[in-house]
C-alpha cells in the first residue's frame, strides 16, 4: 500500500557519485592541459568499475550514518526521556540551548531548558576524551578486539536490513538468516571481553552473558522457523510484501494481514521475549547487573571502548525491534494517505520509511516501559525460563504453524 521515499538506494547514491566523479574529472582535465597523461586517469575515473565501487561505498556510508548517527541518538534519547518520565522526573535536558556560542550565549541563559537531544552527543564527546585504560595482566589482543567484534558484527546487521522496499544496501534472498548470524556473533565478543580483562567480576558477567544469550537464541530461531511455514522465504522484502494485504475490514479500518494477528501469535510473543533477552534489557540484564557486578562484563572498559559496547546495545535494540516489525508487524507497510507532486516525481506523504520507523520506535518504547518497571531476573531463573519454558512453547508454535499449513 505504501510507497518508499527512496525507491532504490543504489540509484540515488549513483546520482551523487556521478556528480562527484564529474567534478573531480573536470579538475583533472584542467590539470591535464599541463600534464597530458592525466587524461587517462580522468577517463578511468569515469569508468563503470570506479563509479559502481564509489556508489557502494557511499550507500554503505549513508546507511551506517542513518543507523548510528540518526537512529542511535534518537533511540537513546527516547529511552532516557521515557524512563525518566516514568520515574517522575524531567530527564536529560542538554540541547542546543546549552551550547556556549552565539546566539546561545545570552546573559541569563538557561542551559537545561531543552528537550535533551544533544545529551547523548555530549556523553559521546565526554567518553572520547577519557583515557583508555588497559588492565595490566589482561589479554591485550582479545581485550582490544572484542569491542571491535561487537561493534562490527552489530553494524553488519544493517548491511542486510532494509528500511523500506528501496532503502537497503543488499537484498539477500536469505536476509533473515544473515541477520541472525550477525546478531549471534556478539555473544562471542561479550564472552571474550569478560574473559580477557583479568577480573573476576567480568569473568562471571561474561559467562553469564554467554549462557543467557545462547539459551535465548534457540527459541528465537525456532519461532522464525514457525514463521517460515507461512512465508516460504527468508527475504525480508518478500515477508513484508506478503503482509501488505487487508485481512478483513472492521468498519472503516482494515485490519492488515500482519503475522502477529495470524496463528503466529505465539511465535510473536516468544520472539519478543527472546529478543528482549538478546538485547540484554532488564529484566534480562544480569550480565551487566550493576547491583552486583559493578558494570558486569564491561567493567574494565573505559573511554570510547566503553562507549562502543555500551552504545551498541541500543543499536542492537534498533535491529531487534526492526526484526520484530518486519517479521510480525508488517514492516514498512501502511497506508500512504496522499502523494505530493515534486517536479513530476510523486512523493508520498507517509512513505514506507516513516511507517517502519514508527513501528520500531513504538516497539522500543514498549520494551523500555517493561524494562524500567520490573526487577531483574536471576541468571538461573533466566536459564530456567529459556530452556524449560520458551523452547517447548516455540516447538508448539512450529506445530501450530505446520498444522495450519496442512489445513490451508
Amino acid at each position: 500500500m505504501s510507497a518508499p521515499l527512496i525507491p532504490n538506494l543504489f540509484e540515488v547514491c549513483k546520482v551523487l557519485t556521478v556528480a562527484i566523479v564529474w567534478i573531480v574529472q573536470q579538475i583533472i582535465y584542467a590539470f591535464a592541459i599541463l600534464i597530458p597523461p592525466l587524461t587517462g586517469l580522468g577517463d578511468w575515473l569515469g569508468s563503470d568499475l570506479v563509479v559502481t565501487l564509489l556508489t557502494w561505498l557511499i550507500a554503505v556510508t549513508v546507511v551506517v550514518i542513518w543507523a548510528t548517527l540518526v537512529n542511535l541518538l534518537t533511540m537513546m534519547w527516547v529511552e532516557r526521556k521515557l524512563y525518566s518520565r516514568l520515574q517522575d522526573r524531567y530527564g536529560i535536558m542538554i540541547s542546543i540551548w546549552s551550547l556556549p556560542f552565539w546566539p546561545f550565549n545570552r546573559v541569563k541563559r538557561p542551559t537545561h531548558r531543552g528537550t535533551g537531544y544533544l545529551q547523548n552527543v555530549a556523553d559521546g564527546v565526554k567518553l572520547l576524551q577519557k583515557e583508555n585504560i588497559t588492565p595490566r595482566n589482561a589479554d591485550s589482543a582479545m581485550f582490544h578486539i572484542s569491542p571491535v567484534l561487537i561493534a562490527s558484527s552489530t553494524l553488519m546487521i544493517f548491511a542486510a536490513l532494509p528500511w523500506s522496499s528501496g532503502f537497503y544496501v543488499a537484498n539477500l534472498p536469505l536476509g533473515i538468516l544473515f541477520i541472525f548470524a550477525a546478531f549471534s556473533l556478539a555473544p562471542l565478543g561479550i564472552l571474550i571481553a569478560g574473559w580477557s580483562a583479568n577480573n573476576k567480576y567480568t569473568l562471571v558477567g561474561g559467562l553469564r552473558a554467554a549462557a543467557m544469550l545462547m539459551a535465548y537464541e534457540i527459541p528465537m530461531i525456532l519461532a522464525v522457523i514457525a514463521l517460515v511455514f507461512f512465508t516460504g522465504s527468508l527475504d525480508p522484502i518478500e515477508i513484508v510484501r506478503q503482509q501488505d494485504r487487508v485481512l478483513f475490514a472492521l468498519g472503516p479500518i482494515g485490519i492488515p494481514a500482519w503475522y502477529a494477528f495470524s496463528p503466529q501469535f505465539l511465535g510473536f510473543l516468544i520472539f519478543s521475549v527472546a529478543m528482549m533477552a538478546e538485547m540484554e534489557r532488564i529484566p534480562f540484564d544480569i550480565p551487566e547487573a550493576e547491583a552486583e557486578l559493578v558494570e558486569g562484563w564491561t567493567t574494565e572498559y573505559s573511554g570510547m571502548r566503553f562507549g562502543l559496547v555500551f552504545g551498541f546495545k541500543w543499536l542492537r535494540m534498533i535491529a531487534g525491534a526492526a526484526l520484530i516489525a518486519i517479521l510480525y508487524l508488517g514492516g514498512w507497510s501502511g497506508p500512504v494517505f496522499a502523494t505530493l507532486d515534486v517536479g513530476g516525481i510523486p512523493v508520498p506523504i507517509l512513505p514506507e520509511e516513516v511507517w517502519f520507523l514508527l513501528k520500531i520506535y513504538l516497539i522500543s518504547a514498549v520494551f523500555v516501559w517493561i524494562s524500567w518497571s520490573v526487577p531483574r531476573v536471576r541468571i538461573d531463573q533466566i536459564l530456567n525460563i529459556g530452556w524449560k519454558r520458551l523452547i517447548p512453547y516455540s516447538l508448539l508454535a512450529i506445530l501450530i504453524a505446520a498444522g495450519f499449513r496442512v489445513i490451508g
Binding site: 520515574q87 567480576y201 562471571v204
Partner: protein, 363 residues
C-alpha cells in the same frame, strides 16, 4: 571451576556504605561468606568520653545518618536513666512523633535502595520522592533534614511548630495513596517474588542465637518489638500492631521486605495518634544536672533493630564510658548463615533486605 573468593566491596555501587563482603563461590553458588567491616570506624566511644553529655548528641546523630533521631534519642534515654530524671509528658509525646517520622524516612531510604539492588530503578526515585515529604516535616519540626541534633537530655530541643498536625495529616494521606502504588511494582511483580522468596532464609532459633533483632527477627516469626516488650516514652498508650510474619516460609527476604513495608503503615498510624493524644501545651524539656554519677542503659527499637546505649558516669560532666550496641553489627555476624547456599546474584537481594547502615555498624 574451583572455588574462589570474590570481594564485593569496598568499592561497589550498591553496597550502601563502605564495607567488604568476601564470598566464596563455587560457580554461582555461595559456599562461605566473611564480612570485613571497620572501614568507617571513627572511634565514637573514645570521642564521646571527652564531650559533655549534651554535646554527644551531635555525634550520635551521625552514627546512623539515615535514622539520626532514633540514635540520639537512645543516647538521651540512657543518660536520663543514669541521671534519674524524667521527661515531661508533652516532651515524651513529641519524641514519639519525631521518632516515628524518622522511622518512616529511614524505611523509605531502605526501600529506595532495595529497588535498584534488584534492578528496579524506578523504585529508587519513587521512594525518594516520598521521603522528601517526611524530610520536610522533620525540617519543620527540628530545623534540619538529616543530623538534626533534636533530642536533648531531658526532652527535645523545641516545641512542635503551629499547624504541625494539619501538615502531618496532609503528608500522610498523600503518602498512603502512594503506598498502594508501590504495591504495584513490588508486591504484585512476579519477578520480585521470584527474586526474594526463599532467598536468604534464617530460622528463628538461629536469629535469636546470633543476636538478630528488629524487623529481621519479626520476619522470622518471633513477636518481639521493643516498643511493646520494653516500652519507653508513651508507646504504651498508642494502639499499633507490631508487624510479625505469621505464615510459613518465615525468615526469607520476602518476609523481611513485607515486615518493613507494613511498618511504614504502622508508623503513619502512630504519628497521627500521637498528635491527637498529646497534651496541647506543657513543658517539653527539663534541665538535666551538669554532673552525674552512676550507670544507665536504654534499649530502643531503632529502624534496624535493637539499639542499646550503656552510659557510665563517674561524677564528671562527661561520660566515663559509652557503649553503643548496633543492631546491624550483630546481624553482620549472621551473614554467613544468610548467604550460604544462595546464588551470587542473591547477595545484594539478601543484604538489601537486612538493611545495612555502615555508620552504626562501624561506630
Amino acid at each position: 571451576m574451583p572455588e574462589f573468593w570474590i570481594n564485593m566491596g569496598p568499592q561497589h555501587p550498591m553496597t550502601h556504605g563502605l564495607w567488604n563482603m568476601k564470598v566464596k563461590v563455587d560457580g554461582e553458588t555461595i559456599v562461605d561468606a566473611r564480612p570485613e567491616i571497620g572501614y568507617l570506624h571513627r572511634g565514637y566511644e573514645k570521642i564521646m568520653e571527652v564531650r559533655e553529655f549534651q554535646k554527644n548528641v551531635v555525634l550520635t546523630d551521625r552514627l546512623c545518618y539515615v535514622s539520626s533521631i532514633t540514635w540520639s534519642h537512645a543516647y538521651c534515654l540512657a543518660v536520663e536513666k543514669m541521671m534519674g530524671i524524667e521527661v515531661p509528658e508533652r516532651g515524651q509525646w513529641i519524641r514519639v512523633v519525631s521518632l516515628e517520622l524518622q522511622r518512616l524516612a529511614s524505611h523509605l531510604m531502605w526501600l529506595a535502595s532495595y529497588g535498584p539492588d534488584l534492578g528496579l530503578l524506578t523504585g529508587l526515585l519513587w521512594a525518594l520522592r516520598e521521603r522528601e515529604l517526611f524530610l520536610d516535616l522533620i525540617q519543620l519540626m527540628s530545623g534540619a533534614r538529616m543530623n538534626q541534633n533534636y533530642p536533648r537530655v531531658g526532652g527535645v530541643r523545641n516545641d512542635l511548630p503551629e499547624n504541625f498536625e494539619a501538615m502531618c495529616k496532609r503528608s500522610i494521606e498523600h503518602f498512603r495513596e502512594k503506598l498502594n502504588e508501590y504495591e504495584n511494582i513490588f508486591h504484585s511483580s512476579k519477578v520480585f517474588l521470584m527474586r526474594t522468596e526463599g532467598v536468604g532464609r534464617i530460622s528463628a532459633a538461629e536469629a535469636i542465637d546470633w543476636g538478630v533483632t528488629g524487623p529481621n527477627l519479626r520476619a522470622c516469626g518471633v513477636n518481639v518489638d521493643l516498643r511493646r516488650l520494653d516500652s519507653y516514652e508513651t508507646y504504651e498508650e498508642i494502639d499499633f500492631e507490631p508487624q510479625v510474619w505469621h505464615d510459613g516460609g518465615a525468615g526469607d527476604s520476602y518476609a523481611r521486605f513485607i515486615v518493613r513495608f507494613n511498618e511504614l503503615r504502622e508508623s503513619c498510624k502512630i504519628v497521627l495518634q500521637a498528635l491527637e493524644k498529646m497534651p496541647k501545651s506543657g513543658a517539653y524539656r527539663v534541665k538535666p544536672p551538669r554532673r552525674a554519677e552512676g550507670e544507665g542503659y536504654a534499649k530502643t527499637e531503632d529502624s534496624r533493630g535493637e539499639a542499646l546505649f550503656y552510659v557510665i558516669g563517674d561524677g564528671d560532666d562527661r561520660p566515663y564510658r559509652v557503649k553503643i550496641r548496633s543492631p546491624v553489627f550483630c546481624t553482620m555476624a549472621a551473614t554467613p548463615i544468610l548467604l550460604r547456599g544462595n546464588k551470587l546474584a542473591d547477595v545484594v537481594a539478601i543484604l538489601g533486605s537486612v538493611d545495612v547502615c555502615v555508620g552504626e555498624m562501624d561506630k
